[in-house]
């Protein structure tokens, strides 16, 4: 019974991690511009992240190491430096995007411009990390995050042609705006396969003191949680296609357009639901990224870490998230467009994937770490596929950034 509770909580938590400003923005853009045609990118991204999260959890539960620990220990400091720097940079950009997401939600709610909210939001997030415990943050974000289910409800209420939705799950070539199409596909993959997600997950497994008895729960949480998150992202995409595209709005390049997805369905409550979903999902993601950044640095250099400790007891750890929050608030406070920043950081996330995913191939096959719980054929094939995908994404992202970005 306790395990069951834990699994459902874990599932909900993973939704909190999965759905953030990146998946909302990329799914909305894709639905508006290409209707159901890019659903496959969400599905593919979700499959990839299921595999990576399951492996990160398994690795932590069996070896009692986080992924960051494992990379440093096996590959040495010099090799560890590259994924470290790449992830620090990507986390910084994504953090700025999440602060921007919360700031937009607050602008929509109050009418006060988003840049004025950047510092208060960063401060509030810092306060949560400063005073909160891991369980409090995990559970709070998870339960409030359920509000994002309104996208799925909305999608069902619009009665889409499910056959067409299913057809969108199969990759097809675009008949217009090819560069834009591929750029969106890359951004969706970047938004789904976030390194912070699986690295955070492995740290969480250590914080929650997982051992081998959690392997089943881990599999269930990874599979169900990420599919749940993917379903919500598909919900956003369907709503965007059936509301925005149907009204002739094919370009979502202004965040003011986003609430229009839900208003025609739910009226004024649609506006409220959108603001709440965006605010909560982004705030939750900001907390998780703040923690992940601190975990990564602390684990990389072997400092004391843990969200359950008091800041006095892990000064290095709390300094890292404090600095990150201050820095990440700056671009938004200066008025940088949060939507553009989001799309840019999602594409960069996709490009950074090989650096963090290649180590999985080694760590999850190393008997010294995972013993008999090594990767099987399918899991290894999945890792190799993700690495190949990551390399392709890394190579195409830069030209697409120039040619296809909005």
């Amino acid at each position: 019974m306790k395990k069951l509770l834990e699994i459902s909580l874990g599932v909900v938590t993973s939704v909190g991690g999965f759905l953030e400003v990146g998946s909302v923005a990329t799914a909305a853009q894709a639905g508006a511009a290409f209707r159901f045609q890019l659903i496959w990118a969400v599905v593919l991204g979700t499959f990839c992240i299921i595999f990576l999260v399951e492996m990160a959890g398994r690795f932590a539960a069996v070896s009692h190491h986080t992924i960051a620990d494992g990379i440093r220990e096996r590959f040495g400091f010099n090799a560890f430096l590259w994924p470290l720097l790449a992830t620090l940079l990507v986390n910084f950009l994504v953090m700025a995007a999440e602060i921007g997401g919360v700031a937009i939600a607050l602008e929509l709610a109050t009418g006060i411009g988003f840049q004025w909210w950047a510092l208060p939001v960063a401060f509030l997030a810092w306060l949560f990390l400063w005073k909160g415990t891991f369980g409090f943050i995990e559970k709070g974000v998870a339960i409030l995050g359920l509000v994002t289910l309104c996208f799925v409800v909305g999608a069902v209420m619009l009665k889409p042609d499910w056959e067409q939705v299913a057809a969108g799950a199969v990759p097809t070539l675009p008949d217009h705006d090819a560069a834009n199409y591929w750029f969106m596909a890359v951004s969706i993959l970047g938004a789904s396969i976030s390194p912070y997600l699986f690295m955070f997950y492995s740290s969480g497994a250590i914080e929650d003191e997982w051992d081998k008895s959690y392997l089943g729960a881990n599999r269930a949480i990874a599979g169900l949680g990420m599919s749940f998150g993917g379903t919500i992202a598909i919900g956003v995409l369907i709503v965007a296609a059936l509301v925005l595209a149907a009204h002739g709005i094919e370009q979502v390049d202004d965040y003011h357009q986003l609430p229009l997805m839900l208003i025609p369905i739910f009226g004024f409550w649609g506006f409220v639901l959108f603001v709440a979903s965006l605010g909560i999902a982004c705030f939750g993601a900001a907390l998780e990224i703040g923690l992940q950044q601190a975990y990564l640095v602390a684990q990389g250099f072997g400092w004391t870490w843990g969200e359950n400790l008091k800041p006095r007891d892990d000064p290095g750890f709390s300094t890292v998230y404090t600095i990150l929050l201050v820095l990440a608030a700056i671009p938004i406070a200066l008025g940088l467009d949060p939507l553009k920043l989001t799309i840019f950081s999602m594409a960069l996330t996709a490009a950074s994937l090989p650096l963090t995913v290649v180590p999985f191939l080694f760590l999850l096959n190393d008997e010294r770490y995972v013993g008999e719980h090594r990767n099987g054929m399918i899991a290894n094939a999945a890792v190799i596929f993700i690495i190949a995908l990551g390399f392709v994404l890394a190579i195409v992202t830069i030209p697409l950034q120039i040619f296809g970005g909005t």
Binding site: L108, G111, H176, D177, A179, N180, H247, G248, I249, E250, Q251, D253, D254, H256, Q257, P259, L260, I263, P264, G267, F268, G270, F271, I402, F403
Partner: protein
């Protein structure tokens, strides 16, 4: 699409300090874009159409009580600005078809004015003025699609 593509390539190339007059670069640009210069007009017209539809959807929602005034007026201002930008870009494009281009520019200009007018009306809570602006918006939107159809009509 491809004309903005072309502009982006040229910008990118100059940004990295290369002179874009190299034959091979031109060739790459040509292969990548391989389209007429009227693509910029097409792209901007699409942006204008999308912004127009955004404005009309948010106005409808406001009238139906779904969208709060503050949000509606901000969205309209933002759409109006997007329209003004698109208009300026269409005007400055080197199009082989000056008369059609002028028609498009005018339609987009009217749209932008109507949207800004609606934004002010929403802010003041003036319902009848909003409805007037909405009618203007519809007329100008119809104008835009006529000009657009004329501009891209098959000629020979």
């Amino acid at each position: 699409m491809a004309a903005t593509l072309q502009a982006r390539i040229v910008n990118a190339v100059t940004a990295v300090g290369l002179r874009p007059d190299r034959p091979c670069l031109l060739l790459i640009i040509f292969v990548l874009t391989a389209c007429s210069p009227s693509d910029q007009v097409e792209q901007q017209s699409k942006t204008a159409a999308s912004a127009t539809q955004t404005a009309s959807l948010v106005l409808e929602s406001w009238i139906a009580g779904g969208a709060p005034s503050e949000y509606t007026s901000r969205t309209l201002q933002s759409a109006g600005k997007a329209l003004a930008d698109a208009g300026a870009q269409i005007q400055s494009a080197k199009s082989p078809e000056p008369s059609g281009q002028a028609g498009l520019t005018m339609a987009v200009g009217r749209l932008s004015a109507a949207v800004i007018r609606a934004a002010t009306a929403v802010q003041n809570g003036n319902r009848s003025e909003v409805e007037h602006a909405q009618q203007d918006l519809r007329a100008a939107a119809a104008d835009l699609s006529t000009s657009y159809a004329k501009y891209f009509a098959p000629k020979s």
